[in-house]
Amino acid sequence: MTQTQKMFAVAAVALLGGCASLEPSPALVEARNGYQAMASSNNPANALERAQAQAALNKANAAVAQNDTATAGPLADIALTRVQSAQAAGSAGDALDKLVKVQDESLSIIRAKGMAAGQVTAAATAATAMTQEQIAKQKEVLAAAEAQRQRALDTLKSFANVVEDKDRGLVISIGGETLFKTNSAKFGPSANQELTALSVYLQLDPRPTVVEGHTDNTGKPEYNMKLSQDRAKNVMDFLVGQGVSPDRITSVGFGETRPIGDNKTKAGRALNRRVDVVMVKATK
């Protein structure tokens, strides 16, 4: 083999070695599986921990995708630890929920038996005193989750129209030009940021959700119907990809059949080209 041939052989081996993709570590695989198992959860007790786990997992996955051997291992370990933390927080929240119910039942028995304050047994008194602290802690957790939900809603209002409709529920209306390329169901440049903000909110508000696609009346009705269906589905798929449970979200296209603006004007047509994300009102 000549010197040149040897040089090319060494370079080829180095190149192939450098191009070999990094395998996810066992810790990363476990983190992914653990997160997937709780991705559909809407437990407010561990909403913050789930969001932290998702962020850590995203960083670990990115390190693997970029073949970053220096940080892939530690980031995978961090992701797994965050997932385990979210699992423990969820379990603590579930136990507190049950604790409150058990305490309610204890108090009902005390009232039903006509026990006066002086007749309450020491054990029942201790149970009441103990769970007041736990109830207070649970309220603190729920208050923190509600504050986080409100912050996420405020972020949505910076680019979407958010209205509480008395018949439909909470309607988050995003302009078609904001999300999509013209006459297409493909996302435009600002879609990623806005849909990510939307996914954060949806994971903090567990109501069933419908993604509705709407168009103006330019072009054929059949075309507009298909375009609206594709757009709605793409938005839904993105949200599910970000961790929104597929069990609580659906998509539908309405084409040009539900205008909110006058299709005879440019401004009206722009209003009609939209995606409505409807958090369905609970039925009694």
């Binding site: 850590a56 530690p74 630890t81 965050r82 423990a88 379990s91 603590a92 507190l96 204890s106 736990q134």
Partner: protein, 109 residues
């Protein structure tokens, strides 16, 4: 000579007064320290399942400070968070068990 020693002393005092304050710790360090404190407040030191993770958090924080490593700082925060939530989980489950026992005692009366 006396004047010289007074002058030196005055310069030293001025130097001390105008010395730059110590730099603020990086955000990841402040966060990790807060997370460790939260884990301790949740009783992680008394819960076997949480003790190991709290120790790992403290060790990771020490290494992070020595190496000025935000990655090790992130690990310290993650371990502390896990220690805190394991402690909360253990306490909540123990309280639930006690409450169920007490409910059963009330039902039996």
């Amino acid at each position: 000579m006396r004047h010289l020693s007074k002058l030196i002393l005055a310069c030293a005092l001025v130097g001390c007064a105008t010395a730059a304050p110590p730099p603020e710790p990086p955000k990841w360090q402040t966060q990790a320290e807060a997370d460790i404190k939260a884990a301790q407040a949740a009783g992680a030191e008394q819960i076997p399942a949480a003790q190991d993770h709290l120790a790992k958090a403290q060790k990771a924080l020490a290494a992070a400070i020595a190496n000025k490593s935000s990655l090790q700082g992130s690990m310290a925060s993650a371990e502390a968070s896990l220690a805190k939530n394991l402690a909360r989980e253990a306490k909540a489950k123990a309280d639930l068990t006690a409450a169920i026992n007490q409910l059963n005692a009330l039902k039996a009366q």
